[in-house]
Symmetry: C2
Subunit: 437 residues, 2 copies
Amino acid sequence: MSTKHTKLTVKDLQPAAGNGLFDRRALFKGGAALAAAMSGYSLSKSAAAETLEDAEWMITQGREVPAYGAPSPMETEAVGLLKRRSSGVIGQRRTPHHLLNGTVTPSGVHFYVGHAGLPNVDPDQHKLLIHGLVRQPLIFTLDSLTRYPMETRMAFVECGGNSAPFFSPEPIQDTVQALHGMSSCSEWTGVMLSTLLEETGIDPRAKWYISEGCESIAHTRSVPLYKGLDDAMIALYQNGERIRPEQGYPMRMLLPGWEGNMNVKWLRRIELTEMPGMTTGEVRSYADVLPNNDVMLFNFINEVKSFITHPSPGFMMNGPGFYEVSGIAYSGRGRVSKVMVSADGCQTWAEAALQEPVLPKAFTRFRLPWRWDGGPAVLQSRAWDEADHAQPTRAEILAWRGQSEKVPAVTSFPSHHYNGPTSWSIEPDGEVNNVYV
Amino acid sequence: MSTKHTKLTVKDLQPAAGNGLFDRRALFKGGAALAAAMSGYSLSKSAAAETLEDAEWMITQGREVPAYGAPSPMETEAVGLLKRRSSGVIGQRRTPHHLLNGTVTPSGVHFYVGHAGLPNVDPDQHKLLIHGLVRQPLIFTLDSLTRYPMETRMAFVECGGNSAPFFSPEPIQDTVQALHGMSSCSEWTGVMLSTLLEETGIDPRAKWYISEGCESIAHTRSVPLYKGLDDAMIALYQNGERIRPEQGYPMRMLLPGWEGNMNVKWLRRIELTEMPGMTTGEVRSYADVLPNNDVMLFNFINEVKSFITHPSPGFMMNGPGFYEVSGIAYSGRGRVSKVMVSADGCQTWAEAALQEPVLPKAFTRFRLPWRWDGGPAVLQSRAWDEADHAQPTRAEILAWRGQSEKVPAVTSFPSHHYNGPTSWSIEPDGEVNNVYV
């Protein structure tokens, strides 16, 4: 995690790629290189030029400590972006990635997509039924589940409709929250579905299972049984505490690396079947019509992806000089193996540092030192995963999936599983814009 | 993280230690062993015996999704335990470990110790001064700090006064929240102090630095400079978002593995010095008088420790049968290397499974399958770290540190750095009590 700092030689100070991107090793080798890279631009101020005065909050009694804390009242921006459906109900909350750092998403701003609001589930009355092609159908209460062996893991969840704006013919000018905010990462703890299926037994004819939620629309999705026996979890805890209402309190299906809406929330029923249920979620909402009019069903995996969060649209660059370029990478196939960053619109590339520990199917924070000379620049990141998949170019995705005529909605096509690159242009006046390169 | 499940042989089902503790490998080898171990005790119910009815929340519209979420309104217990000082101000908030799971502590219930409430710091006005024995004193704003290279790491913070009740002559009957709740673990992101000191330069005479907070009492503590150049961080983010008010918004000193109050919150000043400041925090509040009247100063490191959270006092066992024994282990010296668990009052021991990834100076969740026969049992955990330190026995600690005459307070002696074992007795009626073994 932390890194011993050793002295750098001048050679380490050379940029690794065009337009001022330094080598990631400068981050590991320590402060001397960075101080040199930063010098002349005065990120800090001489203490002689300013005095440290006692602010108003140093001479007054502080606020009372609450039993359950909240962010500072000054942090009014770092909240979810809410979007209403035509029905009036809030259908989405998007994560403010441009204002966050690290790898965990705070539970308060974890993304939400839903159709019927938050059911007021009483955990003492809630039951989970596992039935269908099993030897012995069983009912589990929250109390009984907490006696089973549990596992804890970091995992991202991403909506199939995340990043849909990148299918539009012109780049949408908005924040990374609006563009990529339907992807979040938590520490989840719960009981492996395989543990419960050992108890119910499995009829050899079973090849799928159908999960059903207990919210008023009873959202249902089919999952191949092999995923259920691999890493599917009945998640009971999120970031240490009971799972939040927006993520399915008191329990959800967690399918690490698979399309968000398959991770059924407010889970109440699992039915083992021979065939998929062909539910609305799979044959309409999250199916995609391809340019040749074929319909793509069961596109489960959130493929390898990355985007730069710092800087990103909404930031104003505060003059030339040193900046850390930082962002998020992840893959539904396992660990991120490499992230490359360009500052000159994909002419030259430097390898980013990946924050340890790099965990499978979880957010990985990447970072790279950058010295902006104040001229035009285009930042882009591209990630690889341990399955040796790379982010495709936007052109490659459009050739396969087509392009939207207008800003895509979740119900327009194509609008799902965009995992191409994201490019930010840095204007000489300091503005950051979304561009297609 | 997740584990491929393979079939068990009957041999794997044998207990690994007395009173029903199974081998940790049963957790890795999968469900068959556990299902067998659990059979006959009906954690679950046959679906034939019960029907799944549509609850009230399935037939009504749900609640509106907030821009910044909160736990379910049903989760009224999983909040911090507040204690007031004689001045009336809330001096402590303790983490409800008995109701949490995983390794991250939710920011809302991260422990807090303080004297003057939460200062209403304006992040745009706040400044950090680094001065004293430096080449060039500098002032940093939050804006300037966010341009520096950052690191992200998991780290626990523990108050020196945590676990003080174990110095009392008789075991205190209370929850693990009251007994061990002044220790919490977060993902922290910020700028390494070493990066900023490369920029200020260091006078060779400097051996210490003094951190000062900007709350009304201006809490100050001295830190050896070697720690500042090792893994000390100016933490700006906690669990992905701006650090919470209770943990020092907008910035704190983070000293992974070192006594909580040295991790100065609401940080505004760092002065490099030849000698420690001999501040109230170090010569009175967190100094300990030993039985021979020597005074122990500068007892920095939170040594290796563990305690069982499930089951623990406040739980009522729900009849004999299968339970997962689970708890938290950590060390200020690095990674936890091993946790042993006994169910028969330290007669026999079984090795617990450690949840991956095991990170240095961070909470590690340990787990072990247990089949309670309904008779008397005493659960105890004992942890080792990669520096090969083990938790001492309570007798070893008392021989060195002495014993309190009454329930110790932070200002009585001895009351600090108890890292001995914790033992829970399980009574035949299902009650869980704190006992000394």
